[in-house]
């Protein structure tokens, strides 16, 4: 589904990704871990098409197509979804309206009939159950004044509505309380199908107890320096990153 080959990227002339290689097949779950500032969010945003980052080398194929030449909105309609580490507040735009517009954009793209506000309301109510989202948050402006945890839940609600093929969840677990972590994780599991794939960017092994990854990658200084199974996360939890950093320095 996703092939990243030798990806290099800069922001303001500073090199942040320095040769990423990653292959994700449909139905898989990949976790990306790594110290602060190693480039995890950069990678996630490049996949979504953020204009601040410049790809200087390498390629990204999504279902065989060159992802990098698509506009951010085209990528989304093709089925790429990024749950932001820091979801953006959009004043004056109601959450329900936003979700309906996004949903209908996708329907149109698939050549399907758009839903009117009433029809969409039913669909939204059903999807909101997946993340046990409070209905009161639907009529409020997108993320405005939402608590940290509510924002994260809202991201997963958007995922539930849009049903992406590839979902990249950037630290969706950070800021969630213990119950919310379970609810959101179960939500993500419910949204899994053999046809889609999930990339989890996280700092905590705990999330991976709920959502079991097929592979765990460690990103350090813009490169994937180690890949393993779910045990790798446990090992990191126990030992920290020093041994990885040393190994990387020695390499």
């Amino acid at each position: 589904m996703l092939e990243i080959r030798d990806l290099h990227a800069t922001v303001d002339g500073k090199e942040i990704l320095r040769g990423i290689n990653l292959s994700i097949k449909k139905g898989e779950i990949h976790a990306i871990m790594g110290p602060n500032g190693s480039g995890k969010s950069t990678l996630a945003k490049i996949l979504a098409g953020h204009p601040a980052y410049e790809v200087t080398q390498g390629e990204v194929l999504f279902e065989g197509r060159n992802l990098l030449e698509l506009e951010p909105d085209e990528r989304a309609r093709e089925g790429v979804f990024l749950a932001f580490q820091y979801p953006v507040e959009v004043p004056g735009v109601s959450n329900a309206q936003f979700l309906r517009l996004a949903y209908n954009e996708k329907r149109k793209h698939l050549g399907e009939e758009e839903l009117d506000p009433l029809e969409f309301k039913d669909l939204l109510a059903e999807r909101a159950k997946v993340v046990e989202m409070d209905a009161g948050l639907m009529s409020r402006s997108v993320n405005e004044g939402f608590s940290g945890g509510e924002k994260k839940r809202n991201e997963i609600l958007q995922m539930a509505v849009l049903e992406p093929k590839l979902a990249v969840l950037d630290e969706t677990d950070s800021g969630l309380d213990i119950d919310a972590l379970r609810i959101v994780s179960e939500g993500v599991n419910k949204l899994r199908t053999p046809e889609n794939a999930v990339v989890l960017v996280t700092h905590y092994q705990r999330l991976l107890n709920y959502i079991i990854p097929d592979q765990v990658h460690v990103l350090y200084k813009g490169r994937i320096v180690r890949t393993g199974g779910k045990e790798l996360a446990l090992e990191l939890e126990e030992k920290g990153y020093d041994w990885i950093k040393e190994a990387a320095a020695g390499a």
Binding site: A48, E71, P72, A76, G92, L162
Partner: protein, 441 residues
């Protein structure tokens, strides 16, 4: 010099003709007009040398010499589309400055409440209300457009709400320009007297049936009596070739509330002067507005909130959306007199530029002559937030839709306070139409 001489004479013949045609009206009205015309002749149209008109050049209005529209009834179809649904049975309609009984309706107006066409009021039994109020807020000033309006005063409305009366339905005054009166001028004049503890919702609408070129010079005076509340919407959706110059002047008494919301969509050039005088303790006002202008449009809002007595409150929130090669001017003055202790005044003007050719000049002016006040003001000019745009794009919204939604979000703060669906819907559509224009372009 020759310029000034020319300006002085362009309305002289028209004025004599007009005055002669209105011969049956009371002598004091005649004197009011005479005085106003003399003042206009002295003042002439303002030039950009004057501080208040620095950014707004009205020379085209003088040059085009728009003459008063003929006082004839004009057939017009589709008036209903300009009527606010909430005011279907409480409205006065004017077509090219002429009152149209056929399109007006009063069933929803309580019989105690006076909503009368100005021409009839001038010769009717309500002379005293007029005599007591007309021109009191706009009479002596040095505003040439007010003077010109007063000189040609005769079309418009008188609204009087007696003490304690609550008017449930909004009263709409619809000033419509229809084909046939292109290149002419109208002088709408409105006087609102809301007596003690009364309530009134007023919708003042300017619209055009087609895209002609004309000049509207309007003056609205509003007296809000003790404990009364007037909510006033002004919707300016004139034709793309129109020139619209208007003043809204209100006097707010003790514990009374005046709530003005202006929506500016149309006209090639528009200028709105707002003056709210809080004359007694505890008076308050809201003066909010949204201007939405595109290629070739220029809009200018000048407001003055005059705090004269203690414990008054004023809130001003103006937002502007500019697209194409357009220009907006906002000049908000708050004047707090020495005796006006406990004044609470806030003013904000935020502008969103959707194109690099748009330009805004915004200037808050606070003049405060005592220490016991709470005043805050702020002005911003900005573009759409890149991070917000990316967020919407990342959910699959086409760029145009995303920009449009953010633009809508910017305006929403003003839109949501409008309590009539019809006006909100009109605004929604105005913002949406802009989207379609973009998508087609």
């Amino acid at each position: 010099m020759s310029q000034a001489v020319k300006e002085k004479s362009i309305y002289a013949d028209a004025f004599r003709e007009f005055a002669a045609a209105r011969a049956g009206e009371p002598a004091w009205v005649e004197r009011l007009r005479e005085g106003a015309f003399e003042r206009f002749e002295e003042l002439g149209f303002p030039t950009t040398d004057e501080e208040d008109w620095k950014y707004t050049n009205v020379a085209p209005i003088a040059r085009k010499a728009f003459m008063p529209a003929a006082p004839d009834q004009v057939e017009v179809v589709g008036v209903e589309t300009f009527v606010s649904a909430e005011a279907r049975r409480s409205r006065l309609v004017f077509v090219n400055g002429v009152y149209s009984p056929e399109h007006s309706a009063r069933e929803a107006i309580p019989s105690k409440v006076l909503v009368e066409e100005l021409g009839a009021a001038l010769t009717g039994e309500h002379g005293e209300v007029l005599w007591n109020h007309l021109g009191r807020l706009s009479g002596e000033g040095d505003d040439a457009f007010d003077a010109l309006n007063t000189a040609f005063l005769g079309s418009g409305a008188l609204i009087r709400v007696p003490a304690g009366v609550v008017v449930e339905a909004p009263v709409q005054l619809l000033f419509l320009t229809a084909p046939g009166e292109t290149e002419s001028a109208t002088f709408p004049r409105v006087l609102v007297v809301a007596e003690r503890d009364s309530r009134l919702d007023l919708i003042e609408t300017y619209a055009a049936v087609d895209d002609s070129e004309y000049f509207t010079d309007a003056v609205v005076e509003v007296f809000v009596g003790e404990g009364a509340g007037v909510t006033h919407y002004k919707v300016q959706d004139e034709a793309g070739g129109a020139y619209h110059v208007a003043s809204t002047r209100a006097e707010v008494s003790k514990d009374a509330v005046y709530d003005l919301t202006t929506v500016t969509l149309g006209a090639r050039l528009s200028r709105h002067d707002i003056e709210v005088v809080l004359t007694s303790p505890g008076a308050s006002c809201h003066v909010d507005g949204l201007y939405l202008v595109g290629d070739g449009q220029h809009t200018d809002t000048h407001s003055l909130i005059d705090h004269r007595e203690p414990n008054g409150a004023s809130r001003q929130n103006y937002k502007g959306i500019l697209d194409g090669k357009s220009r907006a001017v906002f000049n908000g003055r708050v004047y707090v007199h020495a005796g006006a202790h406990g004044t609470d005044a806030q003013q904000s003007n935020k502008n969103l530029l959707l194109s690099t050719d748009a330009r805004v000049d915004t200037k808050p002016q606070l003049e405060i002559y005592n220490d016991d006040v709470k005043c805050a003001h702020g002005a911003t000019v900005g573009q759409l937030e890149e991070e917000e745009l990316f967020y919407l794009l990342s959910r699959g919204l086409h760029r145009d839709l995303a920009r449009n939604l953010l633009t809508y979000g910017f305006a929403e703060e003003i839109v949501k306070k409008i309590k009539f669906d019809s006006i909100r819907a009109q605004l929604d559509e105005a913002i949406l139409n802009r989207l379609h224009a973009r998508l087609e372009a």
